[in-house]
Amino acid sequence: MSSSLPSLIVLLPFFGAGVMGFVYLFVPAGRNLRRFYVAVGIGTPLLAALLGLIVVGEMLTLPASASIASPLYSWIAIGSFEIDVAFVVDRLSAVMLLVVTLVGSLIHIYAVGYMWDDQGFGKFFAYFNFFLGAMLLLVLANNPILLFIGWELVGLASYLLIGFYHHDTANITAANKAFLLNRVGDFGFVSGLGLLFALQKQSGFDFAAIFAGLGGIDTAMLSLIGLLLFVGAMGKSAQIPLYVWLPDAMAGPTPVSALIHAATMVTAGVYMVARFAPLYNRIPDVGLFIAGIGAASALLAALFASWQNDIKKILAYSTMSQLGYMLIAVGLGEYSNGIFHLAAHAFFKALLFMGAGAVIIALHHEQDIFKMGGLGSRLPAVRRTMLVATLAITGIPIFAGFFSKDAILSYAFASGHTTIWAIGVVVAFLTAYYMFRLYFVVFVAPNHRSSRSRQSPSLTSLPRSMVWPLFVLAAGSIFLGFWNLPEAYGGSTWFSHELHLADHEAHLRFAKEYILDGFNVLVALLGIAIAYRKFVRPSHPLNAPIHRIAWQRALANTLYIDTLYDRLIVRPLRGISNWQDRLIDPKIIDGSLRGLVTLYRGVATQSARLQNGNLRWYALTFLLGVSGISLYLLIAIGGAS
């Protein structure tokens, strides 16, 4: 069936962005338009969310395999080959639609409070709406081309938002870094799409047609396509080796981080892999590779997170780590679990970021956790919601993270990938450790340093718009898990069923599952205990840790990966570029062009001499031809006689 609602959902944020951008640009500064911006900036996502709910509600009445198409117009029509600008809502995109619009709306509301005093309020909301619209375009696209457009627009929006505080060069650098690394991934993605397009035999390039035509493509080529597409996912979802932009992306305002990390950009890679599930189902080796990358990223990010001091960077690495989980899931073919973790993660990670943002705002943009401390009593609302989120991400039962993460780990174990399972468990342990390290240091532990160095810092009171979204998200973090309650706990995995993805089936006996889950919880509790031991009951006064051991220092500095990249890639590239700039560009390319130009100019100058405006010359040349013909006739025909 078709409906115009999906198109409307996509266009609404764009419309809002356009209106706000126009107003921001052309209404003279000094007018206080914040209320207008609030109305448009929040209204459009909320409306989109409402429409999304309506669409999903309609969706649920349909059979699981049905989808709601929303063609907008025919974009490219060459013969039988057509690409429409059309949107489609099926079960997968419906989930994404809800997550994006609901979490996005909450972040928007939160951002009103966060950005209230900022000069670029209107601009920020224009970008924000644009970001949301791009993500919706990505999610609802019915063909890879449109998806790619959304993909790119998301990149653009993230660039704009990360570099929002563009007066600081570091922010610009971070934005550039994010943008460029995403380009590397996009290159892979485009290559994959191109290859797919080249090998695709059917006319039409929407998902249904592509999946229908997969059978005709060689498996090796399919693997290549899958790998190339995954390169794009690596970039977007910040996986090894293209993750280095993620921590730097914290340069933007905190709502931006929340939006990027929770609901939108980074999940695009996971969504894409899930979207191409029929493709990846045919190439399990690539899936395994994806899972491996995911596991490695998860472990690495967890290790980095454990040694970070910046609150937002900890959360950033935690995002990367959780994305690793999701990729394990989709890589091993358990798409619905991946998407479920994605949805759950969207809630608690958004909550975490917003809580962190609240703390940062309250502390006048202080981000070092060791300069905070003991805020629990002074920011009770933030503390409680943060605790919920921390428990959720740690995987304590009844919270959403427990069900979603355990589903992934159980499946990994059940499908026999025990190495991955083991890494997952280690990551779970580390997650518990670093999350509670954060929680304890910020909220529980007494603030030795700050009480020593300066007076108790006065806290900025938080606006209400920054607080109550936290509660909504906290509620989501608690209850979302029951949506997909495994059968082992008396549930029916309703979400996975309704999602109707091409999952691999692997079942554990319930007893085994209980044991595994219990083990997981134990591991998490162990991590909490260590964190408690270290930061709440410390053996020595709590200070910012000074890492004397080499490996600790290395981890704190994220293994010098950035430096490594700089040495290995950036500098050689710069060298080659400089070399090109000095030698190849001016000498060979410009030189050849200039030579060509000189040649043409010479030829033209010489031939211009023929056109000397002199009547006699013209007559002479003309007669030369006539005379030549005459001569030919005389010789060939012997004249007329």
């Binding site: 002479l620 007669l623 030369l624 005379s627 005459s630 006739l633 005389l634 004249g639 007329a640 006689s641």
Partner: protein, 174 residues
Amino acid sequence: MIEILETSLFALLALGVLTGGLMILLARRPATHAMGFFIALLSVAGLFALLHQSFLFFAQVLVSVGGVVIVTLIMILTVNLREADLPPEPHQTRWLIGAAVIIAPLSLLLYQTLTTLGDAFPPVSDTFGGTRSLGTLLFHDGVLPFEILSVLLLTAMVGAIIIGKKEQSYDRES
């Protein structure tokens, strides 16, 4: 006797045509050109007469000799040509020889083609080429071209007047 007269007349007129042409081609001064032009046109008119084209003869003498040559002369006198205004032609001989070599095949072909068209003149009636017969022909077969020609002449006249009009802005740039 008539034959001798005609042949000698033809020779004289042909000589006149060629002399006139050569005078135009070789001379440097406009006076010689004009004289050559006059001689050539008059000789062509004479050849017309020899060809029994009496009306053509009169038209040639009236229009070409009496009109075109005089207008040419008036033009030359009006602009008051001076010796210094004549272009220097340093390599004229070289040019002439080169051009002659170039057009030699063309002329040869032209001549060869023309000579295939007939060997001898048939006898014609006395009225051939006369005013009356030509006028009849003109008003039967050539009315449209005749009228078009009149329009052409009118256009040429208007055009010549407009082009030749002295414009103050064009006058003597120095």
